[in-house]
Each structure stands twice: as C-alpha cells, then as structure tokens.
C-alpha cells in the first residue's frame, strides 16, 4: 500500500514540477538557464539524500559506473530535460506533457531494434494507444499558449 502511495506521490511531484517550470518560463526565457537552475536544485536535493542514506555505496563506485552515468546524465538532462522545456515553452504544458510521456514507446522501439527484445500483442496494443494519444494531442490547433 505504501508503495502505491509513493508511486502516486511521484506522479504528483512530476505534475507539480511541470507546472512550476511552466510558470518559471514566464520570468526567465532562457531555457538553458532554467534547465541549469532546476538541475542544480535537484542535484543538491539528491546529493543530500545520498550523503545521508547511501554515502558508503557512493564511495565505492567504479570508473565504469561513473562513465555510464555520464552518458545517461547527458541523455537525460542537457538533452532530455532541455528539449522538454523547449517544447513546453512553445506548446504549453498541456500538449508537451503527453508527448514526453510517450518516452516508453521510444524505449520499446530502441529495445526492439538494438537489443533484440520481442514484441507481443500487449506491447502492440500499448504502442497503438500511445500513437493514438499523440495524434489527438498534436493535431489540436486550438490550444492557446501565452509566451
């Protein structure tokens, strides 16, 4: 039960984050600066948690792990988060959020193409629903967005 509540809290936190960032874009137009500010605050928050909870594990990281997380960090933040905020400032949070939420669809495509994972009926149904949702979201000319 507490895991379900935590997962719901995570979803709610991401919702709050998107709305706060969209509000922040009204005051700081530079997406790179905004992304940097959000990353610094996130790094401080996570860093404090690691110092308190998992400092020993952090001290024993291998060079391989450090390099791998460098790749994941660059993919997730200067690329993923920066593009996400660019999309948010142009489309608004309502239309950009479902596009971003389609990331598992891209993960599935990458996994099938590059790592040889197999596709079953459920996977195809999920992918179809995501594509339908994206079509409905993107082909929506009436959403008004303030700059």
């Amino acid at each position: 039960m507490d895991a379900i509540l935590l997962a719901l809290a995570a979803a709610f936190s991401w919702g709050c984050s998107a709305v706060l960032i969209r509000s922040g874009q009204q005051y700081i137009s530079s997406t790179a600066l905004g992304t940097l500010i959000s990353l610094i605050s996130g790094l401080v928050f996570t860093g404090v948690l690691v110092l308190i909870l998992q400092f020993e594990e952090a001290k024993s990281l291998s060079l391989e792990a450090i390099l791998l997380f460098a790749v994941i960090g660059v993919l997730n933040f200067p690329m993923g988060r920066f593009f996400n905020y660019m999309s948010m400032s142009r489309l608004g949070v309502g239309r950009s959020t479902p596009i971003l939420a389609s990331a598992p669809f891209f993960a599935m495509v990458v996994a099938v193409v590059f790592t040889g994972e197999t596709v079953d009926v459920g996977t195809l149904l999920g992918a179809g629903l995501i594509l339908a949702g994206l079509y409905v979201t993107i082909m929506n000319p009436r959403t008004k967005v303030a700059r």
Partner: protein
Amino acid sequence: MIETAEAASEARRRAILGVIFGFSAALAYGVSQVLARHTVSDIAPPLVGSCLALFWGTLGCALMASRTRGAPIQDFRRGVFLFAAGGIFSAMGVTGLFIALERAPVVIVSPISSTNPLFTLVLAAIFLRDVEQLSPRVVIGAMLVVAGVVVLTVA
C-alpha cells in the same frame, strides 16, 4: 492582414518546433531508459546513480548556459524560485519512484507513476489558467497516452 498571416505562420512554426523538441526529449529519455534497464541496476544503487547522472547533466547544462547570451529575463528571483522548486519536485518524484520500486514490483509501481500527465493537466488547469487553455482533445490525448504506457508496462 499581412501581420495576421505572419502571426499565424509564426505560431505554426513555434508549434512544429515544439513538437520536434518534445519528440527529441522523449527519444532521449527512451534511449536512456534502455541503457539504464540493461546496465545500471547492477553497478550502482538507483539513488546514487540518479545523483551522479544529475551531476554530469548539470555540468553539461552549465556549459550550454554559459554560451547562451541575450535571452530576456523578466523577474530573475521569481524565475529562479520557480525553476528551483520545479527541479526539487522532479528529484522528489524520482526518489519516490525508487523507494516505491524497492517495496513493490515494477508492474504495480510503473503504471501508477506513469499517470503523471493526468496530474499535470489537473494542476495546469488550476494554476496556469492565465498562461494556457486546455482543450478536451488535449485531455483525451493525455489519457490515451497514459493508457498506452500502462498497457506497455504491464505487457
């Protein structure tokens, strides 16, 4: 008349760019999910990994921000507060997800956490009324995407 046509053309260009940036973000997150799924859990605890990824991401972003010049700033302090709060909420979401995954299987936790676009829409409807208007199509689109992600995760 010409101004109206130019404004419509500019709005269309912004929308197309927004969609391209959105898909680029989804692709970047998707590739990193595959990388993380196949390698990360064996070499570091998720919280430590997340912190390390944030560290490298911050370095990369600092480099990008240092090259950005001349972007207008309307209210620096308020902007910093909102972006920083957004970053903390995002990190809280990731931490909450990791703790949830330690206590329950991914087939339970992941579909629940993937409902976040619905929370975003509700919060945007409440707090961003002056900034953007949400149409029923956007809500239906978000619900379809969330349903698809849930089915994909469970499958």
